[in-house]
């Protein structure tokens, strides 16, 4: 399952997509600790897989919460996507 957390508004599309099949195969889930803003949490989804999700309080503010990790120039190396060895996390912006 591709779980899209985030929103679209006048400023653009701000979604973090998590491929839960890839995520479930990762035991350590290092992205949770890697995120400096602690936006990720581990939960058991509706199909009994232990996966990572974006906290409710964070998902409607991603543009601002993730901004410190995203330089205005150059190729950003995000701590969450770097930590996610299974390649389950993608940012839309």
């Amino acid at each position: 399952m591709i779980a899209n957390y985030g929103y679209k508004d006048g400023a653009g599309e701000f979604f973090i997509s998590i491929d839960t099949e890839k995520c479930a195969s990762c035991v350590e889930k290092p992205c949770v600790k890697a995120c400096p803003e602690q936006i990720f949490y581990i939960y058991e989804d509706d199909y009994d897989d232990e996966v990572v999700g974006v906290r409710d309080k964070s998902r409607n503010q991603l543009q601002y919460i993730c901004a410190p990790c995203k330089p205005s120039t150059g190729e950003p190396k995000l701590t969450c996507t770097e930590a996610c060895t299974s390649g389950a996390i993608k940012h839309s912006w």
């Binding site: 591709i2 899209n4 679209k8 599309e13 979604f15 509706d46 199909y47 409607n60």
Partner: protein, 292 residues
């Protein structure tokens, strides 16, 4: 003299039961209760077949709303909560349903419910709820393969439509048909925010626009807003719409026009999809436990 304002936003609250089903003969009786931000539904199924349901407004207290909904669904059936083998709660208030045996997200429940309501060919579901909107993809078994939700603003939600019904003094059940009574489709209201769209609508009325034209402009704005969500998540046929707005032809026909596809016609009340899916999950859980 007391001035009483008519509540134009008020939609039909009712309960229903299948007179041809005798729950005493059923092997597995399950229930799904969807406590949403605006409406609550309870669905009771006997051996996986729809037996009874209710749909009503959610009150300020989720546990009471859930209890009222299930009690109303059970009304005149002779059923009691103890007769129901498994109860699943869903919706915003799912964690506050005291009698529920398990809570499951409304995303999974809507996909499962739509699979039952529209058949296994449905792949893209647009759930237009009271205070959010979800674009969901599912497989032939109703299992979610991807989802996307907008609950940041009230644009494209049932509550937004309620506000417009009240503003224009049009019964919410007439909004869709009235919005289609325009010779030429107007430009959509420019703001997707309900608060600003409301003030824009007042300005349009003052400039001489008819009520129908303003409704058309709002329905079109709502359609375009949700179409962008569907496009973000991808469109795969068959396509179905659930939730209260699915009953509004003014919005549905504009979504169909914008997307260039036809939505499947529902066989049941589109508002019960979440509760229906929850009841189906409950049946699967009973079977998995091996108790029945």
């Amino acid at each position: 003299m007391v001035f009483e304002k008519k509540e134009y936003w008020r939609w039909k609250e009712y309960n229903w039961k299948n007179p041809d089903t005798d729950w005493r003969k059923a092997n597995i009786i399950t229930a799904g209760v969807d406590v949403g931000s605006v409406s609550s539904q309870a669905v009771i199924m006997c051996d996986g077949e729809l037996y009874a349901y209710s749909t009503m407004r959610t009150g300020s207290n989720s546990p009471n709303s859930a209890l009222n909904a299930i009690n109303w669904a059970m009304e005149s059936t002779g059923l009691s909560l103890d007769d129901i083998h498994f109860k699943v709660g869903t919706g915003y208030g799912r964690v506050n349903i005291p009698f529920a045996d398990k809570a499951i997200t409304e995303i999974a429940c809507h996909a499962r419910g739509a699979n039952y309501m529209y058949g296994p060919t449905v792949r893209t579901i647009l759930d237009m709820g009271g205070q959010d909107c979800k674009a969901i993809h599912c497989d032939e078994k109703g299992k979610v393969t991807s989802f996307l939700m907008n609950d940041k603003c009230a644009a494209g939600t049932g509550r937004g439509m309620e506000v417009f019904a009240d503003l224009l003094n049009i019964s919410i059940e007439e909004v869709g048909d009235r919005s289609l009574q325009v010779e030429k489709e107007p430009e959509p209201v420019s703001s997707t925010c309900v608060v600003f769209a409301k003030s824009e609508a007042i300005a349009l009325l003052r400039s001489g626009w008819s009520t129908e034209k303003v409704l058309a402009a709002y329905c079109l704005a709502m359609a375009r807003r949700v179409v962008s969500l569907i496009e973000r998540n991808g469109m795969e046929l068959d396509f179905a719409i659930t939730g209260g707005i699915a009953k509004n032809d003014g919005v549905v026909s504009r979504i169909e026009k914008e997307m260039g596809v036809k939505a499947l016609k529902p066989k049941h009340d589109t508002q019960i999809a979440g509760a229906l899916g929850a009841a189906l999950f409950a049946k699967a859980l009973v079977e998995k436990s091996g108790e029945k």
